[in-house]
C-alpha cells in the first residue's frame, strides 16, 4: 500500500510542447498559490498549486507518440497521509516556509473532500522549441465541511482551517499569492467580508462565470503585518440562507443496475444543464475483463430518443491480459440527461485470482469525461504566464468554451464468489466421487465373465477328465 500511488488522482500528463505555452518561461522558477473559495453552504474549498520549472537534461525524442500514451487507474486506493508526505517533499521549501506551512496532515484529512495531483510536462523554452524545460505542477484541493470541521459555524479563517497562519514567503518562490473568491452571489450588496482587507483584486472568467478574487501577495512586505503573520478571515455578512452553488453545466453519475450475480448493467448518466447549448463529450470507459461486456446492448438515450455517437472506438478485453476499452464521442443536447448503458455478465474467476477479500466486491474504474463546455460569459484569451496558475486548470480554448475533464465515481461489483471456507468439504466430496467412479470403472475394466457349467458329474466326472487330460483327449 505504501508504495502504491493512487493513480486515479496522480495524473501524469506528458503533453507535447505545442499547447498553450507560447511565451518563454523563466528558468528554474517556483510559483505557488492558494485559492480559497467560500461556498454559500458554509463549506470552504482550498486549492494549493505549486509549479516548479527547471531546465533539464531529460532526453526527449521528437513529439509524443500517441501510441505510447498510457492510462492506468487503481480505483481501490484512497489517498491518505502516506501519500501526502512524499508529495510535500517534492516542494522546494518542503513544508518549512511559504504556503506549504499550511499543509498540516491532520487538518487536511479532517475534510470532506481531498484531491492530490502531480502533473509533469515539457514546455518549450523558446518560440521555435529548440530546447525545453520541464514543469512539475502539484495541486492539492480540500473542502472543509461546515458540519464536521466548522462545528456548524460558517465563518472561516486560515487558522480555523489549517491551524496555522502564514508567516513568510518561500525564499525560492518568484510568486507566492493567496486568492480569495469574493464574488457576490447576490447582485445587490456584498455578502462576504474578508479581513484584512485586500490590497488588490483580480477579475477573470473561471468555469464560464465571472469571478472576483482578493489577492494577498506574500512577497509584498506590507501583507504580513507587524505581528508577522497573516491570518485571513472570512465572514458572511448576512446569514447565508441555504442556497446552493450553481449546478455545473456538465456532471455525471455512474452506477451498476440489476441484481443477482449473473448479469448486470453499467449505466452512466451525463447531465447537460446548459439551457440552450448542446456540446459533445468524449467518454472513455475501461472495464475489467471479468465483466464481459455485451457491446450489442450498448444504448445511448437522451430525452427519450436514441442518441447515435459520432465516434466509437472499442477494443475488446482479453482474459487476464487487458481490459475493455470503450471510447465514444457523444453529443449532449441542451438541458438533458443522457443515459449510456451497457450490459455485462459476471465472469467466474479461477480460485487463485480472487482478492483476499472477495466478498468486498471488485472495483470498476471511473469513466473519464472530457468536454469543451460552453461558457456563459466570453472569456478573453489570456497570457498564461501572467495570469494566476488556477486559470490553467480549466484552460479556455477560444473564449467561448472551456475544457473540463471529469471522473465519475468508481463502482463496486460483486462477482460470483465461492465459499472459501469450503475447501475441506470440497476435498472430501471430490475424493468420494473419484473413489466411487474409480472403483466402479476398475471393476468394469478388470472383471472377466465366464460361463460356469453346473457341476453335475461329481467325483467320477472329475476323475474321467483327469484321465482324458493325460490322454490328450477333449474334456467332457
Amino acid at each position: 500500500m505504501a508504495a502504491a500511488m493512487p493513480l486515479a488522482l496522480f495524473v501524469l500528463q506528458l503533453l507535447g510542447p505545442g499547447g498553450w505555452c507560447l511565451a518563454e518561461p523563466q528558468r528554474d522558477s517556483l510559483r505557488e498559490e492558494l485559492v480559497i473559495t467560500p461556498l454559500p453552504s458554509g463549506d470552504v474549498a482550498a486549492t494549493f498549486q505549486f509549479r516548479t520549472r527547471w531546465d533539464s537534461e531529460l532526453q526527449r525524442e521528437g513529439d509524443t507518440d500517441h501510441y505510447f500514451l498510457r492510462y492506468a487507474v487503481l480505483p481501490r486506493e484512497v489517498v491518505c497521509t502516506e501519500n501526502l508526505t512524499p508529495w510535500k517533499k517534492l516542494l522546494p521549501c518542503s513544508s518549512k516556509a511559504g504556503l506549504s506551512v499550511l499543509l498540516k496532515a491532520d487538518r487536511l484529512f479532517h475534510t470532506s473532500y481531498h484531491s492530490q495531483a502531480v502533473h509533469i510536462r515539457p514546455v518549450c523554452r523558446n518560440a521555435r522549441c529548440t530546447s525545453i524545460s520541464w514543469e512539475l505542477r502539484q495541486t492539492l484541493s480540500v473542502v472543509f465541511d461546515a458540519f464536521i470541521t466548522g462545528q456548524g459555524k460558517k465563518d472561516w479563517s486560515l487558522f480555523r482551517m489549517f491551524s496555522r497562519t502564514l508567516t513568510e514567503p518561500c525564499p525560492l518562490a518568484s510568486e507566492s499569492r493567496v486568492y480569495v473568491d469574493i464574488t457576490n452571489y447576490n447582485q445587490d450588496n456584498e455578502t462576504l467580508e474578508v479581513n484584512p482587507p485586500p490590497t488588490t483584486t483580480y477579475q477573470d472568467v473561471i468555469l464560464g462565470t465571472r469571478k472576483t478574487y482578493a489577492i494577498y501577495d506574500l512577497l509584498d512586505t506590507a501583507t504580513i503585518n507587524n505581528s508577522r503573520n497573516l491570518n485571513i478571515q472570512l465572514k458572511w455578512k448576512r446569514p447565508a440562507e441555504n442556497e446552493f452553488p450553481p449546478v455545473p453545466f456538465l456532471h455525471a453519475q455512474r452506477y451498476v443496475s440489476g441484481y443477482g450475480l449473473q448479469k448486470g448493467e453499467l449505466s452512466t448518466l451525463l447531465y447537460n444543464t446548459h439551457p440552450y447549448r448542446a456540446f459533445p463529450v468524449l467518454l472513455l470507459d475501461t472495464v475489467p475483463w471479468y465483466l464481459r461486456l455485451y457491446v450489442h446492448t450498448l444504448t445511448i438515450t437522451s430525452k427519450g430518443k436514441d442518441n447515435k455517437p459520432s465516434y466509437i472506438h472499442y477494443q475488446p478485453a482479453q482474459d487476464r491480459l487487458q481490459p475493455h476499452l470503450l471510447e465514444m464521442l457523444i453529443q449532449l443536447p441542451a438541458n438533458s440527461v443522457t443515459k449510456v448503458s451497457i450490459q455485462f455478465e459476471r465472469a467466474l474467476l479461477k480460485w487463485t485470482e480472487y482478492t483476499p477479500d472477495p466478498n468486498h466486491g471488485f472495483y470498476v474504474s471511473p469513466s473519464v469525461l472530457s468536454a469543451l463546455v460552453p461558457s456563459m460569459v466570453a472569456a478573453k484569451p489570456v497570457d498564461w504566464e501572467e495570469s494566476p496558475l488556477f486559470n490553467s486548470l480549466f484552460p479556455v480554448s477560444d473564449g467561448s468554451n472551456y475544457f473540463v475533464r471529469l471522473y465519475t465515481e468508481p463502482l463496486l461489483v460483486n462477482l460470483p464468489t465461492p465459499d472459501f471456507s469450503m475447501p475441506y468439504n470440497v476435498i472430501c466430496l471430490t475424493c468420494t466421487v473419484v473413489a466411487v467412479c474409480y472403483g466402479s470403472f476398475y471393476n468394469l475394466l478388470t472383471r472377466t465373465f465366464h460361463i460356469e457349467e453346473p457341476r453335475t458329474g461329481g467325483l467320477a466326472k472329475r476323475l474321467a477328465n483327469l484321465i482324458r487330460r493325460i490322454r490328450g483327449v477333449p474334456l467332457l
Partner: protein
C-alpha cells in the same frame, strides 16, 4: 452399473422394501416430525456467536444524546403530516437539508391489480424522501441504509424523528467510511419497493417511478425502524423477508450485542427470550417461537420493509419499538444508541456480511439451528414419498414382468404402464392450476359486473370457486382414455404424482425450509395413502383436509394460537379470505412467490392425488 450388480441381492432388497414399506414409511414420517420438534432442544440449538471479525472485537462508544431533538422532530413531523394528510415532503426535505444531508425525492405510482381492502389502497401515488450522508473523502462506493416506512395512518412519526436526530448526530462525525442513506418511504412497503427498484434501475413489479437523482454505490446493509411512541418497553426484531429469505445471522448478532450492551429488552416474534435452557421449560418456549418463525417464514411475506432489501442481496432487518404495560421503559436515546452502535460497527465492515449463516431457524434471539441440523427433518418426510414411489415402481415392474416375459430386463416393462393415459390427467390438472393463477385477477371485472361483489371479493371468491371446481373436474376424464389394466393406470399416475410432489417439496425445502416442511408435514401422509380402494370418503376427507388451502387455513389458527389470541371459526374464515387476497396482491406488488407456487405447482400435484383416489 446395473449390469454388474448382483440381481439376486437386489431382488432381496426390493422384497425387503416391499414387505416393510408401510412400517418404514410410518417410521420415517414420525422421525421427521420428531426431529423437527427436537430442534428447539439444546444439543440441536446452538448459541449464536459473531463470525465477522470486523464487527466482533472492535469497541464502539455510543455518544448519541439527541433524545429531545428526536422528540421535537417527531412532533413537528406528526403535525405537518396531520396538516397535509400525506407525507410532508417539503418539510422533510428542508429538515434533512438543515442537518446537512444531500436530499433527493422520488415519486412513484402504482395501480394495484385489485383494491387492497386491508390497507384500503388501489391507485397509489406517493413520494419517497431520502438524504445521503456522504462519507468524507470516500468515493461513494458503499453505503448503509436506515429506513422508516410511513404508512397511511399516522404511526411511525417517532421513528422519523429518531432518524432525523441520528442523521444530525452522524453528520458531525468524521469516522464514516461508507455513505449512509436516510430513507423515508410513503405507503410503507410499496414505497420501499419503488425506491429499491429505482436504485437498482430494474422494474420487477410494474411500478412507475421517477429515476433517482442521487446514489451511493453498493448498499451493504439496511435497518428498518418502526417506532410509534416516545417511550418503548422493548424492541422487537423481525428477520423474515420476502419469500422466506433471511438476512445474514451476523446482523442479528450485532443487534443482540447492542441490546445486551445497552441493557435493552429485546424480543423476537414479540416474545421474551426463554432463560432457562437446562430444564424443559426453556426449550418448550423455544419450540413455540420456532413454530412462529416457521409460520412467518413459510408465508413468504416481507415482515417489515427490510424484507424487500433481501432480494438485492442487502442484509437487512426491521426493529419495532413496542410500548406495552411493562413498568420499565426506555426513551429514544437508548434506541438511538443501539442504532448508532450498529451503524458504527457496520461502518467497519470490509466485506459484505457473509461469514455467518444465511439459512437458519431461531428458537430464541440468542440461539439458532443451522441448516445442517434442520434439513434431516424435511429429508425424513420426503423419504416417505421416495419409499412409496419405490414400492409402486416395483409393483408396476413386477406386474409388467409377469405379463410379458419371465426374465426380462427392467427397461421395456415401463411402457406397459400406458403412459398415454397419464397425459390427460396431468394436462387437465396443470390447466386448472393455470386457471387458478390467471383467472381471478383477469376476470375480476367480469365477476364484479355479474355478481353483487366488489373486485377484491370477486378475486377471492373466484379463487375459491376454481379451487373447488378442480375437485369435480378431472376425475371424470380418465374414462375416455382408460387403458386395459385399471390397477396399473392409477399406480402409474400415483407414481408420477409422488415423484412430482417429492421434487417440488425438495426444491421448496431447500430455498424456504419452513414452507417445504409445513407442506410436507401435511401433504405427505395422505399423498402416500391415496388409492382408489377402501373407504374413499375417509380418504377424500383426509385429502381435502391436507390440501394447500386447508394447510393455509390451519396455519392461521396455529399462528393465532401460538400468539395466545385464539380465533373463532368465523374470524378464522375472514382472516383466511384476507390472507388469500393478500397473497395474490403480494405476488403482484412485491413478487412474492407463494401464490404462483401453490397455484401452478402444488395444487395441480394435489389434484393428481385426488384423481388417483377417484380412479375407476
Amino acid at each position: 452399473m446395473g449390469l454388474l450388480s448382483d440381481p439376486v441381492r437386489r431382488r432381496a432388497l426390493a422384497r425387503l422394501v416391499l414387505r416393510l414399506n408401510a412400517p418404514l414409511c410410518v417410521l420415517s414420517y414420525l422421525a421427521g416430525i420428531a426431529w423437527f420438534l427436537a430442534l428447539a432442544f439444546p444439543p440441536l440449538t446452538q448459541r449464536t456467536y459473531m463470525s465477522e471479525n470486523a464487527m466482533g472485537s472492535t469497541m464502539v462508544e455510543e455518544q448519541f444524546a439527541g433524545g429531545d431533538r428526536a422528540r421535537a422532530f417527531a412532533r413537528d413531523f406528526a403535525a405537518h403530516r396531520r396538516k397535509s394528510g400525506a407525507l410532508p415532503v417539503a418539510w422533510l426535505e428542508r429538515t434533512m437539508r438543515s442537518v446537512g444531508l444531500e436530499v433527493y425525492t422520488q415519486s412513484f405510482s402504482r395501480k394495484l391489480p385489485f383494491p387492497d381492502e386491508t390497507h384500503e389502497r388501489y391507485m397509489v401515488s406517493g413520494t419517497n424522501v431520502y438524504g445521503i450522508l456522504r462519507a468524507p473523502r470516500a468515493a461513494s462506493t458503499e453505503s448503509l441504509v436506515l429506513t422508516v416506512p410511513c404508512g397511511s395512518d399516522s404511526t411511525n412519526s417517532q421513528a422519523v424523528g429518531l432518524l432525523l436526530a441520528l442523521a444530525a448526530h452522524f453528520r458531525g462525525q468524521i469516522y464514516w467510511a461508507k455513505d449512509i442513506i436516510f430513507l423515508v418511504t410513503e405507503y410503507d412497503l410499496l414505497g420501499t419497493e419503488a425506491w429499491l427498484e429505482a436504485y437498482h434501475d430494474v422494474n420487477v413489479t410494474g411500478m412507475q417511478s421517477s429515476p433517482l437523482q442521487g446514489r451511493a454505490g453498493a448498499i451493504q446493509a439496511a435497518v428498518a425502524l418502526e417506532l410509534s411512541s416516545d417511550m418503548v418497553t422493548s424492541l422487537d426484531v423481525a428477520v423474515e423477508g420476502l419469500n422466506g429469505q433471511l438476512p445474514n445471522l451476523d446482523l442479528l448478532n450485532l443487534f443482540q450485542t447492542f441490546c445486551q450492551k445497552g441493557g435493552l429488552l429485546c424480543t423476537l416474534q414479540g416474545k421474551l427470550q426463554p432463560q432457562d435452557w437446562t430444564s424443559l421449560d426453556g426449550p418448550l418456549q423455544g419450540l413455540q417461537m420456532l413454530l412462529l418463525m416457521v409460520l412467518r417464514q413459510a408465508s413468504g411475506r416481507p415482515h417489515g420493509s427490510h424484507g424487500l432489501f433481501l432480494r438485492y442481496r442487502v442484509e437487512a432487518l426491521t426493529l419495532r419499538g413496542i410500548n406495552s404495560f411493562r413498568q420499565y421503559k426506555y426513551d429514544l436515546v437508548a434506541v438511538g444508541k443501539a442504532l448508532e452502535g450498529m451503524f458504527r460497527k457496520l461502518n467497519h465492515l470490509l466485506e459484505r456480511l457473509h461469514q455467518s449463516f444465511f439459512l437458519y431457524l431461531l428458537p430464541a434471539l440468542s440461539r439458532f439451528v443451522s441448516i445442517g441440523l434442520y434439513m434431516p427433518a424435511a429429508g425424513f418426510l420426503l423419504l416417505v414419498l421416495g419409499l412409496k414411489a419405490l414400492e409402486l415402481w416395483m409393483q408396476l415392474h413386477e406386474a409388467g414382468v409377469g405379463l410379458e416375459e419371465p426374465r426380462g430386463s427392467p427397461g421395456p416393462s415401463a411402457q406397459g404402464v400406458g403412459l398415454a393415459s397419464l397425459v390427460a390427467p396431468l394436462l387437465i390438472s396443470q390447466a386448472m392450476g393455470l386457471a387458478l393463477y390467471v383467472l381471478p385477477v383477469l376476470g375480476q371485472h367480469v365477476a364484479a359486473q355479474h355478481f353483487p361483489v366488489a373486485e377484491a371479493e370477486a378475486v377471492v371468491l373466484t379463487l375459491l370457486a376454481i379451487y373447488a371446481a378442480g375437485l369435480a373436474l378431472p376425475h371424470n376424464t380418465h374414462r375416455v382414455v382408460s387403458t386395459q389394466a385399471p390397477d396399473r393406470g392409477w399406480m402409474a399416475l400415483k407414481l408420477v404424482a409422488l415423484i412430482y410432489l417429492a421434487l417440488q417439496l425438495g426444491c421448496i425445502a431447500l430455498t424456504n425450509f419452513s414452507l417445504g416442511f409445513l407442506l410436507a408435514a401435511t401433504m405427505v401422509p395422505t399423498a402416500a395413502l391415496a388409492k382408489p380402494h377402501g373407504s374413499r370418503t375417509l380418504y377424500a376427507a383426509l385429502l381435502v383436509l391436507t390440501s394447500p388451502a386447508a394447510t393455509l387455513f390451519g396455519s392461521l389458527f396455529l399462528w393465532r394460537e401460538l400468539q395466545e389470541a385464539p380465533l373463532s371459526l368465523a374470524e378464522g374464515w375472514q382472516l383466511f379470505l384476507a390472507a388469500l387476497a393478500q397473497g395474490v396482491l403480494e405476488h403482484h406488488t412485491y413478487g412474492a412467490l407463494l401464490f404462483p407456487l401453490l397455484s401452478l405447482g402444488l395444487y395441480p400435484c394435489w389434484l393428481l392425488f385426488w384423481n388417483v383416489l377417484f380412479w375407476k
